[in-house]
């Protein structure tokens, strides 16, 4: 029996001397008909390059296959070595025999063409369908990926559809010609967790229906448990371990696989929450931060004179308090208002209504204290590339009217050492640091002013999984050492579980459930929290199927003068409240 795809000794290099700049070295694997292989690795491991070499898209990115062979069994039974195939041959194979979906559905579709036109193109090219036949085929394709009301949606342009819908359109396009191999390159990374669960469920169903093979590329080993038959773990361009799903997950042999499975945050349904600093034990004190009835609205203007005709209720009556040394995690999906809440607390967004009270810590002599500081999501965008680290760390001091004297310099050195950066960092520039190191710099910068509250807006989301774990550890250590209160904004339940003492779940601008982390994660009460937690991929829930749910998030645009009904709350346990839905 000839396997569908057989890759042996594949090496891929880039640049003028591809042999010297190899990013994939000697990768071999086989894929049988109907099988799913998951390639797992962190950024720079060569997982995407491996996949792109299979349909030779890597050529367009400046890559060159330097060694090895990729043998594809074609529909007629003949075997073709793709490393030696001509470009016209490859054009026929791409789409017809090997389909591909990418990470960013928003940028993979042409924004000015209707999705119907874009799906039809695939039918025109590979099956020679035209006119009404092509339209009918496109509608069928959308039906197949469970897009409701497909006939009408064909006339939509990409901006009218959500990210999850667009990824379905991409899948429909990729499957248009019934390819026997589908390559999915991190297809759910840009999507919300509940949408991710839907896409994963859809892929699993389609695979059952069509019997196609799949190569699924991801950085999240927890995600593959539900879909893969085989796993290949990649590190630094080499396949360090491969084997059956259960074997890899239960008896990993290579140290790196073990590290991915153990040291990286995986969601454990409330079993891995922090044990320190529970609210009940701590004596009642003034909260470090208290937010009362926070409301943020953005006017919606329309018509010739730009009159306000409504408002986007981004945050609608949020209140919480945060004690010293405590972490409150605000979780929710994109568009739920969690980042707006954080920005409003810092004054980066003007709040429409509401009050904060912050208990500033007693400022030590010569130091002014700004009580709230923030660490941003993207460590590449939050440091000015043209300033040396010394200037970056000096900025908060200068901004608050301080002088960069020996004491300030000593503080810089201490903080750099504390966050685990080399001593010579001060003269260096941001581009000389990795993502994780930059986020450490951002943390050090936030601590320059002795804040009592640090807002962490998706602070570890942009980092590789193993780096994530180390930055989280650092955050916990710093919290203990300096008694910091964290407001931790995140969409990632696994990360939240590791750092939060309390969790607030926010949906459509309102908190729907708030309470002790263990209690919220292990026994969620609100329907939305349950849905959110059920959608988190874990290694424990192998081969569990999700219900397809195509409901959309409600619109947050309200007419002028609209006020939400005041929430009623139901209490569960000492510290766990849930909003009662009308």
């Amino acid at each position: 029996m000839i396997p569908l795809l057989s890759v042996s000794g594949l090496s891929v290099g880039f640049g003028r001397a591809p042999q010297a700049n190899e990013v994939v070295r000697g990768v071999s694997f086989e894929l049988a008909d109907g099988e799913t292989l998951a390639i797992v690795g962190e950024s720079g491991s060569g997982k995407s390059v491996t996949a792109l070499s299979i349909n030779r898209l890597v050529d367009f990115g400046g890559g060159r296959i330097t060694a090895g062979s990729i043998k594809l069994k074609r529909a007629d039974g003949s075997v073709l070595d793709l490393t030696a195939a001509s470009e016209p041959q490859l054009t026929r194979i791409r789409g017809a025999e090997i389909g591909m979906i990418f990470q960013e559905p928003m940028t993979s579709l042409n924004p000015v063409l209707t999705i119907g036109t874009q799906i039809e193109e695939s039918f025109r090219l590979h099956r020679g369908l035209t006119g009404r036949q092509a339209t009918a085929a496109a509608k069928d394709a959308l039906d197949r990926v469970r897009i409701p009301d497909a006939a009408r949606r064909l006339k939509y342009t990409p901006n009218q559809l959500s990210g999850g819908m667009l990824q379905r359109v991409m899948i429909a396009t990729a499957l248009a010609c019934n390819p026997r191999l589908l390559i999915a390159d991190e297809p759910t990374t840009a999507l919300d967790v509940t949408v991710q669960a839907q896409i994963m469920a859809l892929l699993a169903e389609l695979k059952r229906e069509t019997g196609m093979s799949m190569i699924f590329i991801t950085h999240d080993i927890g995600l593959v448990a539900g879909i893969a038959d085989k796993i290949m773990v990649m590190q630094n361009g080499q396949a360090v371990e491969q084997g059956e799903l259960n074997q890899i997950l239960d008896q990993p042999r290579h140290a790196y696989t073990q590290h991915l499975l153990q040291d990286v945050p995986h969601f454990a349904s409330g079993r891995a929450t922090r044990l320190d600093g529970s609210r009940e034990k701590a004596p009642a004190a003034d909260p470090a931060l208290k937010v009362n009835d926070l409301v943020v609205r953005f006017p919606v203007k329309s018509g010739f004179f730009g009159r306000a005709t409504g408002a986007v209720h981004a945050v609608d009556g949020v209140d919480f308090d945060l004690m010293q040394g405590e972490t409150l995690a605000i979780v929710g999906e994109s568009g739920s208002g969690k980042s707006t809440t954080a920005r409003a607390v810092l004054g980066l967004v003007r709040s429409t209504r509401g009050s904060f009270s912050v208990s500033a810590r007693k400022a030590a002599a010569g130091q002014s204290a700004l009580p709230i500081q923030m660490v941003f999501q993207n460590p590449y965008a939050s440091l000015n590339p043209r300033l040396a680290i010394e200037s970056i760390l000096a900025e908060p001091v200068i901004a608050t009217g301080g002088r960069v004297d020996a004491a300030a310099r000593a503080k810089m050195a201490t903080l750099l050492k504390r966050v685990g950066l080399p001593e010579n960092s001060l003269e260096r520039y941001p581009h000389e640091f990795s993502g994780g190191q930059r986020q450490r710099l951002c943390i050090a910068r936030a601590l320059m002013l002795n804040p009592s509250v640090v807002v962490l807006d998706e602070a570890v989301s942009a980092l590789d999984v193993s780096v994530q774990a180390r930055v989280l550890e650092l955050l916990v250590d710093l919290q203990r050492e300096y008694g910091l209160a964290y407001l931790f904004i995140s969409h990632d339940m696994a990360v939240v579980e590791r750092i939060a003492h309390r969790i607030a779940v926010i949906y459509a601008g309102q908190i729907v459930e708030i309470g002790d982390a263990k209690s919220v994660l292990s026994a969620p009460k609100h329907a939305y929290t349950k849905k959110l937690i059920a959608a988190v991929p874990t290694i424990d829930r192998r081969r569990e199927h999700f219900e397809l749910d195509t409901r959309q998030v409600p619109s947050l645009v309200r007419p002028l003068g609209f006020e939400p009904v005041p929430s009623r709350w139901e209490q569960f346990g000492a510290d766990h409240r849930v909003r009662v839905e009308a």
């Binding site: 980066l348 700004l370 709230i372 500081q373 941003f376 939050s382 900025e395 200068i398 901004a399």
Partner: protein, 279 residues
Amino acid sequence: MRMPRAIFAHPSGRIGGFIVGLYLLLAVLGLLGLTPHDPLMQYRIDRLHAPDSTYWMGTDLFGRDVASRLMMGIGQSFTVAFFSVAFAALAGTVLGLAAAWFGRRWDGIVMRVMDVLLAFPAILLALLIVAVAGPGTWTSIVAIAIVYTPIFTRVVRGPALSLKAREFVDAARTFGSSSSYILTRHLLLNLVAPLTVQITLALAWALLTEAGLSFLGLGTQPPAASLGLMLSDSRNLMETAPWLMIFPGLAIMISILGFNLLGDALRDIFDPRMRRAIA
């Protein structure tokens, strides 16, 4: 001193840098009067003398040494170009930053005025200004500066708008950094690269505009020399004394080439995606 080395390492930077350097040297010598002959001295006996070992580029209708006048002209043209581009860059940066920073009404007013200025062809607008203010070196400088201000305003405003929305500016606001600090350290410092490239290219355009104005008799006034004026004077003698036209023409062409090559090189050097490919 990483910059000179980077320019030298870049193929078109090497050629462009050499040309611009040579012109700068000639300009300085011309301005200091260190020329082979006195550029204003009329050697009546040697009128329209073809190039030879005494007069390297021949003499003109009045018997003045073309090589010396060329050096004087380069000095004159470069002075006008440098001052006008300096003023344009300064005004454009201030206006572009203000438009981006204050936004809304400011942005609207500044950018509409710039659109109006851009709607005129450069040389026409410069002519208009000089015609109103009267010819002369300083009026040419001011006219050329006004003509090229909108380009700098646009070059600054776009990136400034996107820099303003970057997270490090948000971060600076959370420390309470002052607007002037954010404008200088976070915005302006990141604009150095596009501005440098733009200045180099604008110098080439300014040289051309100055030559155009002088050619039309509205720039540098005789007996002083400028490249455009020399071309203008050679018009009627094209057939009898072609060297009068060839040398100033070549001088203009090569200088533009030099600035453009240097500009291309700087653009590549400042582009982080290109950095590794060159080094």
